[in-house]
């Protein structure tokens, strides 16, 4: 069999374009805004953990960053179901105990991953903009391979979501005419919208199946979750700001800075 092959031509090279990107639009704006948005949340979070005025006994408002309150330092009424399982030895701010649950959920969330890989790590900052790193292995190895635990955080986030909803209902029962009750309720709704729209939740409901038609109920759940999932990014931001807003509101009421009627 005679088989001759063509000469390997000298064309194994990419087009030499010496700039990082030829994009002429304001591609840096989105990562910059994301950076500022996420940073503001981190800064606020640190302050809120250290801040002690997270409970308004008269209205049964509890700041979301401090709920569930499980330390002995929590005021009696603020304790979740009256529990204080950690004992006296624990003297740090109570918020630290539960911070990791919603924090971990958001940190490993597929949307947040995109946003901080882009805005903090610039990998890439925007599409078709060269990243500054010499080497890249993505989520193939430690530590980023840990992102795969996301679904466990999802289960925990569901619990936290339920507690925030319980808090809101409690406040509403106690202070139905309080603005704070309604803020807490709105926050709980947004948190649930974000949590249930999670990609892991979508997978668990029915995404892992290959025959939707054999599981009609799970398919319906998947359809609902998919709708939320399509709005995962706006819900991520909305719920992040609603939880910050609700938290700040409760603290300002607790500090007496906000003191109008029906607050």
């Amino acid at each position: 069999m005679t088989q001759t092959t063509p000469d390997a031509s000298a064309r194994r090279q990419r087009a030499q374009v010496k700039v990082r990107t030829l994009r002429a639009d304001r591609w840096w704006l989105a990562p910059l805004l994301t950076f500022l948005g996420l940073s503001s949340f981190l800064v606020y979070g640190v302050w809120a953990i250290l801040d002690g005025s997270y409970y308004v006994p008269s209205a049964e408002y509890i700041a979301p960053f401090a709920s569930p309150c499980l330390a002995t330092s929590c005021p009696e009424g603020a304790r979740f179901l009256g529990l204080a399982p950690f004992g006296d030895w624990y003297t740090l701010p109570p918020g630290l105990l539960i911070l990791g649950l919603p924090g971990g959920f958001r940190l490993t969330c597929y949307y947040y991953r995109k946003s901080y890989y882009r805005s903090f790590w610039l990998s890439p900052a925007a599409c078709a903009v060269q990243e500054p790193h010499g080497k890249y292995t993505g989520e193939t190895r430690f530590p980023l391979i840990i992102q795969n635990v996301h679904r466990y955080f999802f289960y925990l986030a569901l619990v936290i979501g339920a507690i925030l909803a319980y808090d809101a209902v409690l406040a509403l029962v106690h202070t139905p005419l309080g603005l704070g009750s309604w803020i807490l309720l709105l926050n709980a709704v947004l948190i649930f919208g974000y949590t249930l729209g999670c990609h892991s939740c979508r997978h668990i409901t029915a995404g892992r199946l290959n025959h939707f038609s054999r599981h009609p109920l799970r398919y319906r759940a998947w359809t609902f979750v998919s709708k939320l999932n399509a709005k995962h990014q706006p819900l991520a931001w909305a719920s992040m700001y609603s939880v910050m807003g609700a938290d700040l509101y409760v603290r300002l009421v607790a500090k007496g800075i906000i003191a109008f009627p029906y607050a």
Partner: protein
């Protein structure tokens, strides 16, 4: 309503080349590919560009317009200002052959590494029964016109040539998802998706979805669900245990 537009087009062979300036007539309703063709017909007969259907259905005329991966035939001139200089370059991730034409053989090699559709041995043609809801997910991925712009824009290989052997690119990770979700496919693809085709390299920054001319939700509907399926297989002890105890069939 015609005007003269300023163009910079990358010209050269085998990597070496530069941006060349052109001033060219533009008429109402035209797209960038029309302008490239006008350059061929009037100023540069040997200007190389790959194209076929000119209707956004074949995925041949992938190029980078003002730095963004686009189909030349689907980029209307009316989206630019008349005094704007429009820069047209070949896809960056693949070796250039000439001018706007790149060597996309990387994609065909990757396609060959993905095991084909594997139906059960006992189903004969004509006997397939599938519900619409069960095929819809994979149908979305089969809308792909193989313009390879997702593979071109993906920073995993765009910015890191050395990752090419280990990473199949969004196009072919999506192909794995398509087959893995196929109601009749019996091959085991999850382990290989991670170990052989580099799903773990994806950091879901969604540029593939942004550039897809077919508006396929590559990241949300293919890559992330596939990552979750890999978690089931490799990283989730509860699912692993469940599968051991109940010997769940593939459902």
């Amino acid at each position: 309503m015609s005007y003269k537009a300023k163009f910079k087009v990358w010209r050269g062979e085998g990597g070496e080349g530069r941006l060349e300036d052109f001033t060219v007539e533009v008429n109402e309703g035209e797209v960038v590919l029309d302008i490239i063709h006008r350059l061929q017909a009037t100023q540069a007969p040997d200007l190389a560009v790959r194209w076929n259907c000119k209707a956004g259905k074949c995925g041949s005329c992938s190029m980078e317009i003002n730095g963004k991966p686009r189909l030349g035939c689907m980029t209307r001139m009316s989206t630019f200002e008349e005094d704007e200089t429009i820069t047209v370059t070949p896809m960056r991730t693949f070796p250039v052959i000439k001018d706007l034409v790149t060597d996309v053989s990387f994609n065909y090699e990757k396609a060959r590494q993905i095991p084909s559709f594997t139906p059960p041995a006992d189903v004969r043609p004509g006997e397939y029964r599938m519900q619409q809801v069960d095929v819809e997910r994979s149908q979305e991925f089969r809308k792909c016109i193989e313009c390879f712009m997702c593979n071109n824009v993906c920073h995993v290989i765009r910015d890191h040539e050395e990752n090419k052997p280990a990473f199949a690119g969004p196009r072919f990770l999506m192909r794995i998802a398509e087959l893995d979700m196929h109601p009749y496919d019996v091959a085991d693809r999850q382990e290989a998706a991670q170990e052989e085709h580099g799903l773990g390299y994806c950091n879901i920054t969604k540029c593939c979805t942004e550039v897809c001319p077919e508006h396929i939700k590559i990241t949300d509907n293919a890559l992330i669900p596939m990552k979750e399926r890999v978690v089931d297989r490799k990283y989730d002890p509860l699912v692993w245990l469940g599968n051991k105890i109940f010997r769940r069939p593939k459902s």
